[in-house]
């Protein structure tokens, strides 16, 4: 069953999400894209923070999966940049990380405006439900 929500003026169809993945792990981005596309979602990939940030500025995504640890321009830099432009809360950003990070630190990110977080590794069905939940929240 499809779940609908709105961001600004646009309606979000939980069966056809427009997802941006920002992650430097090409194995994960390739497989996750295949998985999400097989589930009828549209997927765009950025393999570094800078590219991801440009895509966020130029397009509208229902949800953004953001890895934290990336070389050069990492997930924190993306969050900081969006925060400085007052854009963090207007985007559904899910921190998707394998980094060692405490609950306090995750809560801090959420209080800054990050929608949610997913810690790797995660079961794929759970991952999808988290993506949908965040996109339609």
């Amino acid at each position: 069953m499809s779940k609908n929500s709105t961001i600004g003026d646009s309606k979000i169809d939980s069966n056809h999400l427009n997802v941006l993945i920002i992650d430097d792990n090409e194995q994960i981005t390739k497989m996750l894209t295949t998985f999400l596309e097989l589930k009828n979602h549209k997927c765009t990939v950025a393999n570094d923070g800078k590219q991801g940030l440009t895509l966020i500025h130029e397009n509208k995504y229902d949800v953004v999966l953001l890895d934290l640890a990336m070389p050069e321009f990492d997930g924190y830099a993306v969050i900081k940049s969006l925060e400085s432009k007052d854009m963090l809360k207007n985007n559904k950003i899910i921190v998707f990380t394998a980094s060692t990070i405490t609950q306090d630190e995750l809560d801090q990110l959420v209080s800054r405006g990050v929608t949610s977080y997913i810690l790797k590794p995660i079961d794929i069905d759970l991952l999808l439900s988290k993506i949908i939940e965040s996109a339609t929240s």
Partner: protein, 319 residues
């Protein structure tokens, strides 16, 4: 206490007067000129003979020293027989010496063009062909020599300047043109340095995005600056060296090696203004982190293989 014993105490090895003497030498005085000036400034009006006797400087040399100090304007003579001498106050003397040095630099600046012009008038006698690709090395000793080279490198840079070193290394150049030039450079600037909340004043006007934190394990005793991937100045650290020492080279091998080292550390380092959470995350992708990533890859791959019969080859991923 006799005058001689007072003078002996004045110039004892650990006396502050020796430090003063050393400082005055920096302002253009010779050791003995500084000694005579300090003697007069502390002992008051004296004859040349008294000065010579107290400081154990030959009388003829003493007259010569007094004459030079008078010309410099930091002592004056009192008419009488015999002629007596006294020192101008220290505040005024420092200003006079400073201005003398400034005037000397101005004269040197003016003479620069003449030197080049005259040099060009003399024909070149060397017949050997100069190799343009040979590696050049220069050993620079003393803060000033190093500073001149650093300023030249930054001024001439058109692409990038990479700086690696601790706060302590850079503090030596605080309040010099080096830091001002770094702030103004149009080249891409990257600075890797250690960080403490008390420090960093030296980089206070440089955007924080250009600075990354040098972590503990990379905070070794090395400090270098690379210009446009073509030149490097490498500081030689040795506690036995009284003066600063550095090696400058345009050796491609040397520059490339240090450039690679810089890139490697830069890539893994974090910007100085990142939050505690970010610094706790560390600059390195840990072994555990990588294991979790691999586990995540396996989960997605298994799912795709099981539910959609997709092979790794078809997915374009490596095992």
């Amino acid at each position: 206490m006799t005058v001689e014993s007072i003078v002996e105490n004045m110039f004892e090895l650990d006396s502050p007067i020796n430090e003063l003497n050393r400082l005055l030498v920096k302002y253009g005085l010779t050791q003995n000129q500084a000694k005579v000036y300090l003697y007069l400034s502390k002992m008051g009006i004296k004859t040349a003979s008294e000065i010579s006797k107290s400081l154990k400087i030959p009388r003829t040399e003493t007259y010569h020293l007094l004459s030079t100090l008078q010309q410099k304007g930091i002592i004056f003579s009192v008419f009488g027989k015999p002629t007596k001498f006294n020192a101008v106050g220290i505040d005024e003397s420092v200003v006079i010496l400073l201005n003398n040095e400034k005037n000397r630099i101005n004269e040197l600046e003016t003479g620069k063009e003449s030197i080049i012009k005259l040099w060009k008038m003399i024909p070149k006698y060397s017949t050997s062909k100069e190799k343009s690709d040979e590696n050049k090395f220069q050993t620079l000793q003393g803060r000033n020599s190093i500073l001149v080279k650093l300023e030249q490198m930054i001024k001439e840079s058109s692409e990038n300047i990479l700086v690696l070193g601790t706060e302590l290394d850079f503090k030596k150049f605080y309040h010099t043109d080096f830091t001002n030039l770094l702030k103004k450079t149009k080249s891409e600037l990257r600075i890797l340095t250690d960080y403490s909340s008390k420090g960093m004043h030296i980089f206070e006007d440089i955007p924080s995005k250009k600075i990354k934190k040098l972590d503990d394990k990379n905070r070794e005793d090395f400090c270098f600056i690379i210009k446009d991937d073509t030149e490097v100045i490498f500081f030689v650290s040795n506690s036995e060296l009284k003066d600063m020492m550095a090696l400058w080279t345009d050796s491609k091998t040397f520059v490339t090696t240090l450039r690679s080292l810089f890139s490697l550390i830069w890539k893994k380092a974090h910007h100085i203004d990142e939050s505690n959470a970010e610094s706790l995350l560390g600059s390195e992708i840990t072994y555990e982190h990588r294991l979790r990533e691999i586990e995540q890859e396996k989960i997605i791959l298994n799912y795709l293989q099981k539910n959609f019969k997709l092979s790794e080859k078809k997915l374009g991923v490596k095992k």
